[in-house]
């Protein structure tokens, strides 16, 4: 018996140990989930965390330019609780539940990994907790199910592949006989390549696939892959590598003349372009997963954001940082719209959701429209350009912008079908 007692006591103690005090009326508690450890921390997680910290601080200090001048969300100060996104889906689901039910946050903003987004979405629905995905790319989330409590304020990865295809077609004036791919061997890499290949086949009929390399995620050594791609002599090489893998790929492919031999597209190249300025030759197609960083429009919001960020962290914000800012501002917009509809009183979650659906709001990256995924999935314009070193500083030249509806499927149409049917509106 004594044993059973001990155990139960131990367990209940353990269960309540980390419990935080219940959330007061104000301020608003926001759970922010992003990678703080592991390989995805440096390119996405940490810049996103930094952006979140800036936004929260500036919003509470009412230092954000119009239309976001109001304190916090509709006057209520923000309080953010940070969680690491590392670990398997089980861990992430556990932590999400802890945020929602133990720490009683008012909403959760986060998730870089598509796998985590897919795992968390149904839980958010079960717990009726407003959840905003800021970065993860997979189109599957709103294609496979429809959610009430889940929103995504960034475009899906489909946009990157379609945009890239449109851009190289223009760049090479249609003279593309063969394409090759080097993508990481996991969902993101596979999906990116599938979409790009399909788009190219639509845009330049008869194009050949020379080779599609899928090295293991974080393999780090790409000599063999580079050899095959060099040997394939493709006109265009597509890669959705990110972070360490992307940088290693650039460092290893450069000296081997891959960039000279083929037109290389790096759909997330923007995260590496400043760090590796002297290693990226001119003419490499650089993507930023949307109108972020160098492609961000020149409006006041953007000038303010990039300056504040650069002043504090010494580097310009990358697209992950932009997407985080976009997610927070989008939620703020929805919240305040709902609040004014509610006669100035704090809106209920359902009211915020009602306001969020089909919302159009301004972000440092310009106009964001929550028009697909039944009003829960954002579409934005996107832009591509080629690298150009100007006085030792990396810039993008020959920039082309593509309106949102041109690079995103219409509501209710699966990305794959949309591409397969020749991008019909």
């Amino acid at each position: 018996m004594h044993f059973a007692n001990k155990l139960v006591i131990a367990m209940t103690a353990a269960a309540f140990a980390p419990a935080a005090p219940l959330a007061q009326e104000a301020p608003l508690k926001i759970g922010v989930v992003t990678f703080l450890s592991g390989p995805a921390a440096s390119p996405f997680g940490v810049p996103a965390r930094n952006a979140a910290e800036i936004m929260v601080e500036m919003l509470n200090g009412t230092k954000v330019p119009a239309p976001y001048a109001a304190r916090g969300f509709g006057g209520a100060a923000l309080q953010m609780q940070l969680v690491d996104e590392s670990g398997p889906a089980t861990t992430q689901v556990t932590e999400f539940r802890n945020l929602a039910q133990r720490d009683n946050v008012d909403m959760v903003i986060g998730y870089v990994s598509s796998g985590n987004c897919l795992a968390v979405a149904p839980v958010a629905e079960e717990l009726k907790k407003l959840t905003v995905f800021f970065d993860c790319g997979t189109p599957r989330i709103f294609e496979e199910k429809s959610y009430k409590y889940v929103f995504r304020t960034a475009s899906t990865a489909t946009m990157d592949s379609v945009g890239a295809a449109l851009y190289v077609k223009e760049l090479k004036a249609g003279k593309i006989k063969s394409i090759a791919g080097v993508n990481q061997n996991y969902a993101w890499g596979q999906d990116s390549w599938v979409d790009f290949e399909a788009s190219m086949k639509q845009l330049t009929p008869g194009v050949q696939v020379a080779t599609s390399q899928m090295p293991k995620l974080f393999a780090g050594q790409y000599n063999a892959e580079i050899s095959t791609v060099l040997g394939a002599k493709a006109d265009v090489v597509h890669s959705s590598f990110w972070d360490g893998d992307l940088e290693a790929f650039i460092l290893q492919a450069g000296p081997r003349g891959l960039f000279k031999r083929s037109t290389v597209i790096l759909t997330t190249g923007e995260t590496a372009m400043y760090k590796l300025a002297e290693h990226i030759p001119d003419g490499v197609v650089i993507g930023a997963r949307g109108p972020y960083g160098p492609y961000a429009p020149d409006n006041e919001l953007n000038r303010w954001f990039s300056k504040t960020f650069a002043d504090r962290y010494g580097v310009p914000p990358n697209y992950a940082a932009y997407q985080m800012a976009q997610a927070i501002l989008g939620t703020k917009a929805a919240w305040e719209k709902a609040q004014s509809a509610n006669g100035g009183n704090r809106p209920s979650t359902d009211q915020v959701i009602a306001a969020f659906e089909r919302l159009t709001f301004e972000s440092p990256a310009g106009k964001v429209e929550m028009v697909i995924g039944a009003g829960h999935q954002a579409i934005t314009e996107t832009a591509y350009g080629v690298s150009k070193l100007v006085k030792g500083k990396m810039t993008v030249a020959n920039v082309k912008r593509y309106p949102a509806t041109m690079v995103n499927p219409p509501d209710g149409v699966k990305a794959a079908d949309w591409i397969a049917n020749g991008f019909k509106k």
Binding site: V46, Q213, P215, K216, F218, A224, E247, L251, R256
Partner: protein, 298 residues
């Protein structure tokens, strides 16, 4: 034909990298019977030290030609500082425990070191690409390879030959061999096994650090760099036979060639081909290719 040549060259380059990364593991296991997970940490430490130190010196205007020496030096630096700390500070109190428990201890240490590294170097990547491009490159048919890859091969051969020489011809080496064969008897014969353990752990870790240091110029040094290396070098070492130096070499070459062949001819298989080889080898040679079958006296 050209492709076959490419397969060979890519395979050899990758094998060299694997060998440098893995050989320390087999040494440590041979002598101490520890499956050492911190091996990955030392690989990462080597890479970080090399990247940051070389980068700093280059910024200070050091002639790039010296950077290769600096790579080596920084690997030496971290391993002689950290390895003894871990061996004397923690591991030596654990030798009485099960092989598995010690493995877990090194796993715990690995987790801790991951965060320590993050605390020291932060999460932002480090680069020192200069040594990679510096020597220019050579062409094989119409494939271009930087000469640096040959340096990698050279380092691998140097590590292997050096280790073989040390075990075969130096006094310490001979003592080590004795310990490898029978720790208890060696102890009885008055060999200072504890010191041997210290040397072995430091030297084995140094090899891992060298692996990291000489990889640094070709990659971006980021958190969790070591994770991949752990399982990979386990596979290599197990295929060759734990504790066997020629085994590690053969294992590295096998894995390297098979992998590059897969990439050239069957890209889909790349993901698990290494483990396939490992499973196959173990299925037919349960203790790896170069194993010392232990007889039991009854």
């Amino acid at each position: 034909m050209e492709q076959l040549l490419a397969v060979l060259i890519d395979g050899i380059i990758y094998s060299s990298w694997l060998f440098i990364a893995a050989v320390g593991l087999t040494l440590i296991y041979g002598v101490m019977k520890i499956v050492n997970v911190t091996h990955g940490s030392f690989y990462a430490l080597g890479a970080y030290a090399a990247a940051s130190i070389t980068g700093a010196l280059l910024a200070k205007g050091m002639p790039p030609s010296l950077s290769y020496a600096v790579l080596l030096g920084s690997a030496l630096l971290v391993s002689v500082i950290v390895a003894p700390l871990i061996e004397r500070g923690i591991l030596r109190f654990m030798y009485a425990k099960d092989e598995v428990v010690i493995l877990l201890i090194t796993y715990a240490l690995f987790l801790i070191l991951e965060d320590v590294i993050k605390m020291i170097w932060g999460v932002n990547p480090y680069f020192i690409a200069e040594p990679y491009g510096l020597l220019g490159s050579f062409d094989v048919l119409d494939l271009t390879y930087p000469y640096y890859n040959l340096i990698l091969v050279g380092v691998a051969i140097a590590c292997g030959a050096g280790l073989a020489w040390m075990l075969g011809s130096t006094r310490t080496g001979k003592l080590l061999v004795a310990v490898i064969h029978d720790t208890e008897v060696s102890r009885a014969m008055g060999i200072n096994v504890d010191r041997m353990y210290l040397y072995t752990f430091t030297f084995g870790s140094l090899l891992a650090a060298i692996g990291g240091a000489f990889t640094a110029p070709t990659v971006s040094v980021v958190p969790a760099l070591g994770v991949e290396v752990i399982v990979l070098s386990f596979a290599v070492v197990v295929i060759g036979g734990l504790g066997s130096l020629p085994g590690a070499a053969l294992g590295a070459v096998m894995v390297g060639l098979v992998r590059s062949a897969a990439i050239h001819y069957l890209p889909q298989a790349e993901l698990f081909v290494i483990y396939l080889v490992m499973a196959m080898v173990l299925a037919f040679r349960p203790r790896g290719l170069f194993s010392i079958a232990e007889a039991r006296k009854i």
